[in-house]
Amino acid sequence: MTGARRQFVLRVASLAIIVLVWALGAMAAGPRLLPSPLAVLSTMVEEAASGALFLNIAITLVRVGVAFGIAMLAGTALGILMGRSRTADDLFDLPLIVLLNLPALVIVVLAYIWAGLTETAAILAVAINKFPNTAVTVREGTRALDRGLDEVAQIYKFDRVKRLRHVVLPQLVPFIAAAARSGLSLVWKIVLVVELLGRPNGVGFEIGTAFQLFDVARILAYALAFVAVIVAIEFLMVQPFERRVTRWRPRAA
């Protein structure tokens, strides 16, 4: 346990150093450009007390969750299809490459133009940004599937659902987890842009408003509160899930 203790101490130390550097920077730059950690904290408390902070974070989280879910499901399905079928691969490869290289901003702006400044447009724009990356990652995993286990499933007459659940998906877990991890951080960043450009609420909208008022304390308060929530999700949900689905893997003693 000394290893875990050491890790904890080092993490706290690095956090303390960041806050210290920030405080020094705030003194040098003045409260208008860079408010002190305490000023940001008090803004955060104010926003929390009024309920606005929680409401905006909740709205943004729902958008992140829905867009992320759509992107992961569609991307995984297309990735498996493309990994298994040559025809599907040849058919979708080029559009996928185009989509992968299309700047997020272009997709967002076009979605708003074509589908109006609506919730659906916002969420779809985010999902479309993430899903090609998931498809490509899962396709790699599908290409590496073990043929031998497929044959076992055939011999013992596994139906489609059983095959997917017990043979295919367990092999894809590392790939889906990699896509999910890079996906979560990508999706929330794009959601903020989408909110800034065309939504009347959410963390991105608040930051946009604060930008117009040059209220740096509010920008930092919202940004840090939201990052804290995302990090908590990563630690409390993504990592335990990964541990659970890979517990069969023999670990180094």
Binding site: L149, E151, V245
Partner: protein, 239 residues
């Protein structure tokens, strides 16, 4: 269930694009509840033949009399267990209809009772082979296909597993095809031994063993094995 195969030709495409004929006029039949052993030179096409029988490869000319509803048990050259499922789950996934009592008995007979909650990565090769065998028996197969199921185990362990296989077959006879390169193994377990030619494989010799499996003495087994070695050797020099 009777197993009857008549493959006139089976080609495989090599990496360089050329077609290689692996099986030609490969004919054999196994009577219900009997065990036939296939012995033949390495690379002659034994695994290819089993894959055709199992329906894993349907790209051949010829005929296999095996109804599609026939239940198959197969043990591959490697154990091929699902690494992310426990021993118990590996067996139950393949045999969802097996009763708890049947699985208990099977795992007991193969001395796996203490390993039910283990993942395949935690098992030795000998144990993993046992699980593959348990899985094949758990489905109460009509036909059992075994592809060198005891290869690369030490002699003592292989012997132990052969005894366990014989005991399982004694309790519930299954039409079985056993691929092996070990003539002792064939002599010990088979009712009939088919000797195969070099590639393209076909049957060049058939040896029926009259003495029942459980009644064969060690001396008789080694006599039969010696006879098989002779036949294999002479077929080599012809080919």
């Amino acid at each position: 269930m009777r197993l009857d195969a008549d493959i006139t030709s089976k080609l495989v495409r090599a990496a360089n694009g050329a077609d290689i004929e692996v099986l030609r006029d490969m004919r054999l039949a196994v009577e219900p509840g009997r065990l036939a052993a296939l012995v033949g030179p390495s690379g002659c096409g034994k695994t290819t033949f089993l894959r055709c029988l199992a329906g894993l490869d349907t790209n051949f000319s010829g005929r296999i009399a095996l109804p599609s509803e026939a239940r198959l048990g197969m043990v591959f050259q490697e154990p091929r267990l699902l690494p992310w499922r426990t021993v118990d789950d590996n067996i139950r996934l393949a045999a969802p209809d097996a009763t708890d009592a049947a699985i208990d008995q099977l795992l007991g007979a193969l001395r796996l009772s203490g390993h039910r909650k283990h993942y395949p990565g935690e098992l030795s090769l000998g144990l993993a082979r046992r699980v593959a065998l348990a899985r094949a028996f758990a489905v109460e197969p009509d036909v059992l296909l075994l592809d060198e199921p005891f290869v690369s185990l030490d002699a003592l362990l292989a012997q132990e597993l052969r005894r366990e296989l014989a005991a399982l077959l004694g309790r519930r006879p299954v039409t079985t095809l056993l691929v092996t390169h070990d003539t002792m193994e064939a002599a010990q377990l088979a009712d009939t031994v088919y000797v195969l030619s070099e590639r393209p494989a076909h049957v060049i010799d058939q040896v029926d063993i009259a003495i029942r499996r459980i009644e064969r003495s060690a001396a008789e087994v080694s006599d039969i094995a010696e006879d098989l070695d002779r036949r294999l050797g002479s077929s080599h020099s012809h080919a």
